[in-house]
């Protein structure tokens, strides 16, 4: 927020009234008029009483500072020049007046008698003065100084300035830089690995096996035992045992069919795309599959369970860019995909084809004759049956590891975090894209870069806040989560900017958890010029905004009234080597000194009565009597 400037110079009273009226009426473009800086003609000032009345009674204004421009004129022939001030903007009414006798100004010392022209500046002294006075803190300080330390509240301003960064502009540019850094498509500052986040993945294969005494192992062992028994009888067939092995072969088929059906049933009933339910775990265990005792959830450094949100937050704070975190979460989610055991039903058929089972169960009696018996033996497929049982065993273990023994982390949670980060990244990218590209050079570029680094932790806080918002009340769908994250990010950015504008504090927006009191924006080299300006002796040569002939109207007094000001961001770098009564500013692009030299009382006429009631000559005479006749060099 800066003071509003109303320019009445060059306007007649009618147009001046119109200009004031328009400004007061335009509450859209000028919503806040608490601080009003009026630039007016010194010669016309007295006749503006009605205009100032309009302003002061508008109900929109808190303080008014008038900058009266131009030479003083005698109120009547033969009289000395005077600045005639309407009573409603006098110091007694809480307002103040700065007289700029000549906008170009002169370089002059309070102790000298000679004035030099001021050179080397692109703008007039008046322009610089208005820029300086537009800064809220300077505006308030000047009014307070004029009211409290300058007799009539009327002074001639003198300047000694150094360039500085406008904090508001610096903040905007630094925020854009910080935003671009965190949303850059690259990998960021940290050399962290690519790939999924191991801490979010299951911690390994785990102790998954078949219970040797369990149902499935029993089928498997039964197949092997029956096949072995049949083999022995086969040996007997040729040499010792004359019994028919057909019953053993059929038993192999029966066990294999039972195992196959049991596995298929288990895969169906234990179908889950996440962690199996308690009931499903019971079914799995009853079938003879030994699972890890409890879902495995990794723990963070503080002992709290790791979540996709916390892992994402930590990665961002470690310096990974948002796109990189998003990529890694995408890869993590892919590895957490579980389609459930039912998706492996096709593998059951492959491991143990139905024709094999059918062949075993339908084994014909051993034929007579050696050649026929040999062919019969070859067609039994006992070895195939044993291998099929082993394949089913391996399949169950594989499914147990990949589908049932999964930890608490789900692809859904990881995907939700990734989507929220996507929304944040999108909105931050839009902010950076929509902003005017900062054109920074030299030392200023360094300062803005340093400020952006100071802002980065607060940007991390913003990311945390958006993630926490989604975690507290999960959106029903991904698109809603994305839209919500994007909107919340925009809201927090707006909140941050509004907080910076209204409070002048860019480091502590309401959402920030990081405690930062200042930045490392300025280093010693950056503030050397500002320090020199602030340490300048205000009695020495400064740029006084008057003409050489106006010097006689001024009456320097002790103590000298000087407003010393500099951007708040430079405070730390400037250290203690600054004037005691410093004014720290939140905006504006100047630092330095504003010297306020009082006017002689005889040069000021605050008229409290109508001119008809009090003759000018009488007033002049009174002033002259009251005026001091000091011996300062300008008298």
């Amino acid at each position: 927020m800066t003071a509003e400037i109303l320019r009445l110079s060059g306007l007649d009273n009618r147009n001046a009234t119109l200009a004031a009226d328009e400004l007061l009426a335009d509450r859209v473009r000028h919503p806040v008029l608490r601080r009003m800086l009026v630039m007016d003609d010194a010669a016309a000032l007295f006749d503006r009483a009605s205009v100032y009345q309009l302003l002061l009674t508008s109900g929109r204004m808190e303080r008014l500072l008038c900058v009266a421009v131009g030479p003083l004129v005698p109120p009547a022939p033969g009289r000395g020049p005077k600045l005639r001030i309407p009573p409603n903007i006098s110091s007694q009414q809480g307002s103040a007046v700065l007289w700029v006798g000549d906008p170009q100004g002169v370089d002059v010392s309070l102790m000298g008698r000679l004035a030099d022209g001021h050179q080397g500046t692109p703008l007039s002294g008046l322009d610089y003065l208005l820029e300086v006075l537009s800064v809220d803190e300077v505006f308030d300080k000047v009014i307070a100084t004029l009211r409290n330390s300058v007799g009539d509240g009327v002074a001639s301003p003198g300047l000694h300035l150094a360039g500085a960064d406008d904090e508001a502009v610096s903040f905007a540019a630094a925020l854009v830089l910080a935003t671009r850094r965190i949303t850059a498509p690259g990998t960021g500052l940290a050399a962290s690995p690519e790939g999924p986040y191991p801490s979010l993945l299951p911690a390994g294969t785990g102790p998954v096996h078949l219970d040797p005494d369990g149902e499935l192992a029993g089928y498997r062992d039964g197949v092997a035992a029956a096949a072995a028994a049949a083999g022995k009888r086969r040996g007997g067939l040729l040499h010792r045992d004359r019994s028919d092995p057909r019953d053993d072969v059929v038993a192999v088929g029966a066990d294999l069919r039972a195992m196959r059906d049991r596995v298929a049933q288990l895969f169906t009933t234990a179908q889950s795309t996440g962690e199996p339910t308690e009931a499903q775990r019971d079914q799995i265990i009853r079938a003879g599959v030994v699972l890890p005792p409890a879902p495995r959830t990794a723990a963070g450094s503080a002992g709290h369970p790791l979540t996709a949100q916390s892992v994402g937050q930590a990665a961002v704070r470690s310096g990974d860019t948002l796109p990189k975190v998003i990529r890694r979460l995408t890869l993590t989610a892919k590895q957490l995909k579980h389609e459930g055991s039912a998706s492996h039903l096709r593998d059951v058929e492959q491991a143990c084809p139905q024709p094999l089972v059918g062949r075993l169960l339908g084994t014909p009696p051993r034929p007579e004759g050696k050649a026929a018996a040999d062919t019969w033996l070859q067609g039994l497929g006992l070895a195939d049956a044993v291998r099929a049982a082993e394949r089913l065993d391996a399949l169950v273990l594989e499914v147990a590891r990949t589908e049932w023994a999964v930890g608490g982390m789900t692809a859904d949670e990881v995907t939700r975090t990734r989507i929220v980060l996507d929304g944040i990244c999108k909105r931050l990218t839009e902010h950076a894209s929509n902003a005017e590209p900062p054109t920074l050079r030299g030392a200023q570029a360094g300062r803005i870069t340093r400020l952006s680094e100071s802002l980065t932790p607060i940007l991390y806080d913003l990311v945390d806040r958006v993630l926490a918002t989604e975690a507290a009340a999960p959106s029903p769908g991904g698109q809603q989560a994305y839209d919500r994250a994007r909107a919340k990010t925009g809201d927090l950015l707006t909140e941050w900017q509004a907080h910076a504008a209204s409070k002048g504090d860019i480091f502590s927006p309401p959402f920030a958890a990081t405690v930062l009191h200042d930045s490392r924006m300025y280093v010693e080299d950056d503030v050397a010029g500002i320090r020199d300006a602030l340490q300048h002796d205000a009695r020495q040569v400064m740029w006084q905004l008057c003409g050489p002939g106006d010097l006689g109207m001024l009456k320097p007094s002790e103590p000298l009234s000087v407003v010393a000001f500099a951007p708040r961001q430079t405070k730390e770098a400037l250290g203690a080597a600054v004037p005691q009564d410093m004014t720290w500013t939140r905006s504006g692009s100047h630092a330095g000194l504003l010297r306020l030299v009082p006017l002689r009382p005889s040069a000021i006429w605050v008229v409290w009565v109508d001119r008809e009631d009090m003759g000018e000559a009488a007033a002049d005479a009174l002033d002259d009597v009251l005026s001091e006749t000091g011996t300062d060099p300008w008298s």
Partner: protein, 345 residues
């Protein structure tokens, strides 16, 4: 007409989904968006209804544009006939609400599509949405199977996802055809099966398994949050091994109904036997009759029963008779579309 900015009043004459002639003054958007190479779309409103009007793009190959539009119209009509009045129209396929297929400026009127194209929303689909997408896609393909339609253009831009309704929708039937016609090289190379990929061996007849290759790629694309399937072995790496058969040659792929049953453990909600009832056969006959009328060299796909009269197709075109009246024609041996409405271009 409210005369909103960017709109104009225009008389639209068309046949609605029931085949009844309709004439309305519609408020049409001035802005049109391109749909593929040959068609454009714009929004039209009348009687409180908002529809999407598909037309042949002005500066395009008119013949190709007519063919694309014909496909859209005929697929829509066929789906309407298959669904008939016995079932609620499935949200999993876009819906034709009317068409004007006979003039030199034909158009199709479709219900507004649901949601957004997959390519726009795939990054914001939660895990459960990804699964629901698969179910919705397979349901849509079951309806196409019931209607005897092969889409042949399933891609992330023609398949959509509505996150608020949690509904997948198959749209853009401009490349579709019916089962049983010779295959041709058509569709987006990265998304179709090798049997219809340009530069590959294009042979055999279009079947109810052709689209399943694209379906597998779309399911993978969604499950991997926008990553195209580059190699079949990647399916198993993300738990999608059950999709591997869909990458196999067409004859070894499961149908949509079979995959639906495998995945869901239950039958598809699409009723069986729709293709066997009189309505569908009648619909086929109408298509055949229209096709023969304009393209006598094109053979028919099945014996035509007595068909209902088809609308007059435009100036210079004699009113068509029933399908039974059409002279028998030899089976088509080329790769030409076999169900085009035909139009003088």
């Amino acid at each position: 007409m409210s005369g909103e900015p960017g709109t104009a009043a225009e008389e639209l004459t068309f046949r609605d989904a029931a085949g009844e002639p309709v004439s309305v003054i519609a408020e049409v958007d001035a802005a049109e968006s391109r749909v593929g190479e040959f068609l454009t779309a714009r929004r039209v409103r009348f009687n409180g209804t908002e529809l999407r009007q598909l037309r042949v793009a002005a500066a395009s190959d008119r013949r190709a544009g007519y063919e694309r539009l014909d496909n859209e119209i005929l697929a829509g009509r066929r789906l309407n006939e298959v669904v008939g009045h016995d079932f609620g129209y499935p949200a999993s396929v876009s819906r034709l609400r009317g068409d004007e297929a006979e003039s030199a400026e034909p158009f199709a009127l479709l219900e507004p599509y649901l949601g957004e194209p997959l390519q726009a929303v795939v990054g914001t689909m939660m895990d459960d949405e990804q699964r629901e997408f698969e179910t919705g896609l397979l349901t849509g393909l079951c309806w196409l199977e019931a209607a005897g339609i092969a889409h042949r253009g399933l891609t992330p831009s023609t398949v959509r996802w509505d996150s608020s309704r949690r509904q997948a929708q198959i749209t853009d039937f401009s490349l579709c055809t019916v089962f049983g016609v010779p295959r041709e090289a058509i569709g987006a190379r990265d998304w179709v099966g090798p049997e219809q990929r340009s530069g590959g061996k294009v042979s055999g007849l279009v079947s109810n398994r052709d689209d399943m290759n694209s379906a597998a790629k779309l399911i993978y694309y969604v499950r991997c949050q926008g990553e195209p399937l580059k190699r079949p072995d990647l399916l198993a790496q993300v738990g999608l091994a059950y999709l591997e058969p869909l990458i196999a040659p067409p004859e070894k792929r499961p149908t949509a109904r079979e995959l639906f049953r495998l995945r869901q453990g239950r039958d598809s909600p699409v009723p069986r036997g729709l293709g066997g009832d009189g309505r569908l056969k009648e619909g086929h006959a109408v298509f055949d009759a229209r096709r023969r009328e304009k393209h006598p060299s094109i053979g028919r796909e099945q014996p035509p029963p007595a068909a209902r009269p088809a609308p007059h197709r435009g100036p210079g075109t004699p009113p068509q008779g029933g399908a039974g009246a059409a002279p028998p024609v030899p089976a088509d041996s080329g790769k030409r579309h076999r169900w085009g409405l035909g139009r003088q271009s």
